[in-house]
Structure formats: C-alpha cells, structure tokens
Symmetry: C2
Subunit: 259 residues, 2 copies
Amino acid sequence: MSALTNAIEILRCFSGAQPDLSFADVMTLTGKPKSSTSRLLRALRDCGLLEQDPHTRRYRPGLLTFELGRLHRAHDDLISMAERELREVCARTGHTGYIAVLDGYEQVVLRIVPGSNPLRVVNPPGQRTPALATSNGRAMLARLSDQDIRARVPATYPKLPRNSPQNLKQLMVRLDEIRRTGVSEAADESIEGVGSQGFALKSGETGEMIGIAVSYSVQATTVAERANVRRELTAMAAKLRRLTGDQLDQVVTRAQATR
Amino acid sequence: MSALTNAIEILRCFSGAQPDLSFADVMTLTGKPKSSTSRLLRALRDCGLLEQDPHTRRYRPGLLTFELGRLHRAHDDLISMAERELREVCARTGHTGYIAVLDGYEQVVLRIVPGSNPLRVVNPPGQRTPALATSNGRAMLARLSDQDIRARVPATYPKLPRNSPQNLKQLMVRLDEIRRTGVSEAADESIEGVGSQGFALKSGETGEMIGIAVSYSVQATTVAERANVRRELTAMAAKLRRLTGDQLDQVVTRAQATR
DNA sequence: AAGTCGGTTCCAAAATTCGGAACCATGTCC
DNA sequence: GGACATGGTTCCGAATTTTGGAACCGACTT
C-alpha cells in the first residue's frame, strides 16, 4: 500500500454526514495503528489537504482541497451547456434539476437547479448515491457495455430501496428499456414520494458523460404533467446531443466514464 | 521526499490560470523525470484526485477534490455568521462582499456576496492573492505579532502593485494604522480602479480568523459613499465581535492563523 | 491517583520509490 | 516513406520511506 493510497483512504473517510473527524475516528475508520495514523494526519495537515480545529483538535478537509475543488469546474463546457438548458426546462416546469457524473457504481451530484415547486432539495452537490437507484444514474449505466456494467456492480448486489432493481437481471431489464426509449424513469426509490426522469449525455468530443434529471413529487404531479416532463427531456436531450456531438449508439468504455 | 509530498507538488501546479496541465507541463513544473511523473500522475488519476481528458489527454483536478472541496468548512459557524451579516450590508450598499482566510502570506477567498452594482466579480472563491495587497489580507496580518508577520513575508519582499506597501517598513506603518482604526482600506492595488475596506474577525472560542471586506469601484463611488461603507463595516465588526467573543487586543499565533 | 485522549518518538525490518534507459503507439511534418 | 515529437509505459537494482509495536508524554477528567 503506497503512502498516497493511505492518504486517500483517510480523505475518503470525510463525507457530508461526517465533515470532521477526530484522531480516534480516523483510526477506527481506517483500522491503521496509532503511529501510522499520527504520521499521516500530520502529513495531510502540513500539506493543506486537511486542517485541524485548534480548539476541538478535530480534522476536516483543508484549504487545498477547497482550492482544487473550485478548479474542478474547469471541464464545465459540457456541464455548463447542459446546465443552461436544464435551467430553462426547470423554469418552465417548476421542477428541480440535477446534473451528475458516474463514479464506479455510484453517481455524484455536480449541479442543482432548484425548481419553483416547494420540493425540498435533498441531494446537495457532492452527494454520492448508488447509480442503480436513480433515474440518471441508470441512464448513464445504460450507455456502458453489459460487461462494463457487471464489472461495476459490487460482487454482492447491494440492498436497494423497494422500487429499485433488486438484482442484476432486473437491472438489465430496466437498462434495456432505457436503451430503447432514451429516457430513464424512477419513482419512490431513494426518497419516498419523489420521482424523476433523466437521460445521459456524452460529449462526442471528449467522451465524458453526465446524467441530467428532473425531479418532482409523485403525489403533486399528474400523469399528464409527467408526460410533459418526458417531452421536455426528450427535446432537451435531442438539442444537447446535437450541440455536443453525442452519438447515442456508441458505447462508453470503463476508463472514459470514470475519469 | 515522500510520495505524498510529490503528489502535493503536482496538485499545487494547478491554479485558476492553469486549470489543466499536460504531461510535459507537469514534468517541467515539477522538474521530475519522466518515469516518476508518469507513475505519480497515474496514481493521482486512479485515486480520483486528478482526472484526464480522454480527448486532449490533459490532466485536471478530479472528482474527489470536488467532493472534498464541498466539505471544507461546510458547517463553519464563524463563516456562516459573518456571511449572514455581510449579505445584509451588501444588500444595503449594493457592493460586493468577500470573506477570506490567511494562508502564509497569501489569502484565499472563501465566500463571495455579489452586489447589485455592475462590478464584475473578479476574485472567485478559491482565488489566492498576496495578503499584503488587499484590505482584508492586511487586516488579518495586523492581528498577528510583529515577529509572526516578519516570518510570513518572504525573505525578498515581493513586487506588489503600485499602491500596496512596497517594503516591510511601509507595511508596518499601514498595519499600525489598521490596529488603531480597526478598519483596513485599499484602493487601486491588485485591480486598477477597485477599492475595498475590510476587517479581521477572530472567534474567541476557536481562535480561527477570517477577513471580511466590501469591494467597490473607486470611480463610481463618492467620498460620502465610502464613508458610509466604513460606518457599515464598523457596525458589522462590532456586532460580529460581540457575537463571536472576539477580543480585539489578543494576538493570534502563527499556528492558530494558518490551520 | 488513575485513566483517557490525542498524540510523538524510536527502531529495525519490510516495502516502496527513484531515476535512467529502453521501448512503443500515435500523429504530424517534410 | 522516414524522421521526429508527444505522451507515455516498463524494467531494474539502489536508495529511501514507510511500517507498526512499544514506550512515553502532557492535558484533562473522573
């Protein structure tokens, strides 16, 4: 195990639920002995990746991560283009929009476009969710090869919400449907009463892929309204695919999709 | 040199001016041989700290930095309290507000409150500037001990804009003035035609220090308006110092201020 | 006075990294 | 077609780091 691997292992312990950790927290989360934890935390702190509260002595992501995180938006040609379109759709429909990327078998929220409807935003940017349980997550998976998908799903199929695909076979059925229709739908999965529709967009130029979704309350929307969302999404997808040179049939390889 | 040090050295090559780098760029910037650069870039890419554009093959900060960056001081009471007050002042005055922290002899912008006046936001969050050349940067320095300040200023005093202090003596004169008045002022320094006033706030509880500033166009503001900004800032400073238990006279040590 | 938390320091063994050199796949210029 | 540049990868022995157990430590609590 390299020093970098260890450092990353520590960094990955931090999350929205646990934005700061004590020495003991890190020790138990990584399972590393005291001396190693001590050395690594110090190194991470000294280089700015972590910082330490002088009062509570707890560790949290540091200034350097903040600066680098701001730089990540650099690849936003695809994202900002999608965001612009999504903003218009959300303004027209009043629903909440999401842009996310795939990372392994999970997705990470990159942008949110709050709608005018009073649906509380539940997934802030940076939020990590199993891609199997969201509409745009599955839309992104649907564009990978079957072999690649199998490689991404954990060896033991994860326990997902009731309405999500419960095994690899059910997943494949839903992905095939997405491949046929071009749009992915979810209802009552990660969050009760919330539904969404989404699609995946892949830049023909850079090959990078993002998921775009519109989310709404299932109770507060009619069948007609949801059909309207589908029309909006289909139109947006067509326009964005044209703008970004997205060739739908082209399968994304593992390396392209993750990084 | 540890593996982590090398990794950080690469990460620090990325900046707002150069948000993505080629293999050769990294090699020349770090001065490391090809094989080492290759291994390190791969490691950084594999762990998510960097990502590589599949088309141009250039490297840029990765998804992990985005996620961690979102976590940085997400629940920081001092900052959110200051931001709330700053928002009100900016709404009343129409100017742009900044919150920054000190890192060595530089400051990094953490939060921005855009004003209603048409002054384009020039310093996005994550922006790094010599603290000697900004109002809130100097306000933060003014709260350190003279010894600590001397330790932070580089051995060869940096070349700064015309209106910034040009040497250690001039700097000390300006810092003394800030210590007397409690407010720091800048005009036509980092950016021509832009002025700002700021102060430093230090939590009595945690000891962490931030700089708060209001920025405006020098041409588009009158002397009276700038005096008004000063009154607003003085009032905000008094309120925030009361809320956070900031004892003005207490000097911040080096360790507390940086991390 | 004892115990806990959050560390630091020491050490020899084990693992990793280092950098030069050779190699290679693409793309491009002449 | 051939030469050259770019952007890498792989190999290897030597050199450097990392590792983890154990002892120790200062501040604070019980």
